[in-house]
Amino acid sequence: MTVFIIRRLLQALLVVFMMSVIVFFGVNIVGDPVYMLVSPDADQADIEAAISRLGLDRPILEQYWLFLKGAAQGDLGDSFIFGEPALKLILHHMPATMELAFSALILAIVIGIPLGLYAGLYPDSRLSKGIMAASIFGFSLPTFWVGLMLIMLFAVELRWVPATGRGDLGSFLGFQSSLFTLDGLSHIFLPALNLALLKISLAIRLTRAGVREAMGLDYVKYARAKGLSTRRIILVHVMKNIMIPVVTVMGLEFGSLIGFSVVTETIFAWPGMGKLLIDAILQLDRPVVVAYLMIIVLFFVLINLIVDILYSILDPRVRLQDQGA
C-alpha cells in the first residue's frame, strides 16, 4: 500500500509539472497581459515600463525557468493584478470554495442516494417516475439559469434567504467556517443547492441503475432464500455493492466541485477560488492561472488516490496495483 501511494504521488508531481508547462505557455498564446493591466492613459513609455516590471520582456523560456526556480521554494509568483503572491490569494479563497463543495456533496449524497434507492426499488410508482423526470432537469438545465431562478424565487420573492454573498463565520474545533453560523447557513443554502443539482441527478441515476441491476442478481435471491428481511437485503447486501460505482463517480465529481464551481460562485458572488480563476483567465493574470491549475491538479490526483483506496476497501475483490494477491 505504501509503495502504491508513493508511486501515485510521484505521478502527481509529474502531472503537476506538465500542467504548469501547458498553462504557462498557453496563457501566453492567448494574449498579452500588459494590455489588460495598464491604464489606457498610459503612454508608450509607461507600457514598456510595465512590461519590464512584470518580467514580460524576457524570453518566455527564461520566464518559465524563473518560475520553476521560485516554485521549488514554494513561491508561485505574484498576481499581476493584485500584486500579492498567487499562492496566498488562492489559499485565502480556498475555505469558501471548500465549504461550498462540501455542502453540495453532502446534499447530493443525502438527497440523491435515497431518492435513487426508492426509484430503483419501485420503478413503476408515480413518485419514481417523477424523480427520474426531475433528474433529467438536473442534467439539462444550465446552472446559470437555475441559480438565477433560485435567487428570484427564494431571495427576491419569498425573502427567505439572502440573494448573494457568504455569511458570518463561526469557529468550531479550531476551524473557521460559515457553516457554523445560522447566518452562514442561510447564505450557503442557495449556492450549495445550485451546485448540487447536477450531482443529485447523477446520484439518483447511478443509485437507481445500481439497484435495478443488483435486484436481479443471484445474491439477492439467495439472501431472500435465507429469509433475511427486505430491509437488511437492501441496506447491507445491495447498498454495499452499488456504493462502489457511486463512490467512484461522486469522488471524481467532488474534484470538479472544488476546482470549477465558477458559474455558481459568480452568480452568488461567493468569494471562492472558482471566481478567482475565471477573473484571472479573463484578465490574463498568468501567475494566478498557473498556480491555481497546479493546485487543482494536485487535488484531483489526491482525490483519485483516495477514491482508489476507498474502492479497494469497499470491494474486496479489487487489489491495488503493486499489492500481492
Partner: protein, 325 residues
C-alpha cells in the same frame, strides 16, 4: 413416515409479452421426513421453478396460479410474505447452483452465515459465530475460523459450495431444496459434495429435494425420483425401480444417454429432437414429437396413472422399455 412437503396440482405460469410460459403445469409429489427426492429434467423442464415456487420466490411476470404446497400440513402456496420470510432459511433452506454468484462478493463469509442465524433467532453474535464455525467443520472444511474471515472469491469452488451447504443446515431446517448444487463443480469435488450432503441429511434427519439434470448424480443419492418434462412430472417412483426399469420413453432416453462401462464401443443413444419451445407446446403429450413409441393416442394429453407401483404419464409404457434395448 410423515410428509414434510406435499405438493399438489402446482401450476406456476409466466405471463410474458411473448405469451404465457407454463413453466410448471400441474406437479404433484410428496417428500417424507428425512427423505431425499431427486427432481430430474433437462433445462427448461420447470424443475428449478418448482423449487422457487415452494419457497415463494417467484417474481413477476411469474405467479403461482393454482395448487397447494403443504409444508408440515400448512398450505404456504399463498402465504403472506412475512410468513414465508420466517420459513425461508429457517425451516426450508435452499442451496443454489453457483455459489460465486449467490454469495455476496463484498461481504465476508462469517457475515453471510451469521445473518442467516440472526434473522431467525435472537442469539448473540458470538453464539452465531460459533455455530457457523461448527457448521463449517461439519461439512469438512479445515481451519474454519480462517475461512469465516475470508471473502467468497478467496475460496475455491468446492469450498464455496460447502459453505452454502453449511449455511443451509445452520438453522436445522426440515427441508432443503438443492438446485443443481454440483453442476458447476469438477467431477471429483462433485462426489465429495454429494457425500457431505448425504452424511448431513442422515445426521440431522432433514428432508432434501435434489434438483438436477444429471441422472447419474441422483442415482446413488436419492431414495425417490421425479422426472419432469415440459413443466409436468412424467414418471415418479422409487429410485431403484425407475432406474432399473424405466417406463416413460423420456426416462428411457435419459438413462440410455448416460455413458456407462457396458456401452463401450456402442453409439451413444440420443433422444431425437430439440427441447420443447415452452411458448408453443404441441397438442397432446409434450414429449410426442421426440418419442419412438408415439401412437395416435398420444394426441391426447396423458394423465398420471399408477403403473407398476409408480406414477406415470404415458399411454405407451411397455413398448418404450423395449425399443431402447
Amino acid at each position: 413416515m410423515s410428509a414434510v412437503l406435499e405438493v399438489s396440482g402446482l401450476k406456476t405460469h409466466f405471463f410474458t409479452h411473448a405469451g404465457v410460459v407454463k413453466a410448471v403445469d400441474g406437479v404433484d409429489f410428496t417428500v417424507s421426513k428425512g427423505e431425499i427426492m431427486g427432481l430430474v429434467g433437462e433445462s427448461g423442464s420447470g424443475k428449478s421453478i418448482t423449487g422457487f415456487s415452494i419457497l415463494g420466490l417467484i417474481d413477476p411476470p411469474g405467479r403461482i396460479i393454482e395448487g397447494s404446497i403443504k409444508f408440515n400440513g400448512e398450505d404456504i402456496a399463498n402465504a403472506k410474505e412475512e410468513r414465508l420470510q420466517s420459513l425461508r432459511g429457517n425451516r426450508i433452506s435452499m442451496i443454489f447452483q453457483d455459489p460465486m454468484m449467490t454469495l455476496n462478493p463484498v461481504l465476508r463469509v462469517d457475515t453471510q452465515m451469521i445473518e442467516a442465524i440472526l434473522a431467525h433467532e435472537p442469539v448473540s453474535k458470538q453464539v452465531a459465530w460459533e455455530r457457523s464455525r461448527d457448521a463449517l467443520g461439519l461439512v469438512g472444511i479445515p481451519s474454519p475460523e480462517e475461512r469465516l474471515r475470508a471473502y467468497p472469491h478467496q475460496l475455491s469452488g468446492g469450498m464455496r459450495q460447502r459453505v452454502a451447504i453449511a449455511t443451509a443446515f445452520l438453522n436445522k431446517p426440515d427441508l432443503i431444496i438443492a438446485d443443481e448444487p454440483t453442476t458447476a463443480l469438477d467431477v471429483t469435488i462433485q462426489a465429495q459434495i454429494i457425500h457431505e450432503a448425504q452424511k448431513l441429511t442422515k445426521l440431522t434427519g432433514t428432508a432434501m429435494i435434489w434438483i438436477t439434470h444429471d441422472l447419474a448424480v441422483v442415482a446413488g443419492l436419492a431414495e425417490r425420483i421425479s422426472v419432469m418434462y415440459a413443466g409436468r412430472i412424467v414418471e415418479q417412483g422409487g429410485i431403484d425401480d425407475v432406474i432399473d426399469r424405466p417406463l416413460h420413453p423420456y426416462t428411457v432416453g435419459l438413462l440410455g444417454s448416460v455413458p456407462t462401462a457396458n456401452r463401450r464401443g456402442k453409439r451413444l443413444f440420443q433422444i431425437e429432437g430439440m427441447t420443447p419451445n415452452m411458448l408453443a407446446l404441441p397438442e397432446g403429450c409434450a414429449f410426442g414429437p421426440r418419442c419412438h413409441a408415439r401412437t395416435d393416442a398420444c394426441r391426447m394429453q396423458p394423465s398420471i396413472e399408477d403403473v407398476d407401483g409408480r406414477n406415470l404419464r404415458c399411454f405407451n409404457p411397455q413398448q418404450a422399455a423395449e425399443t431402447v434395448k
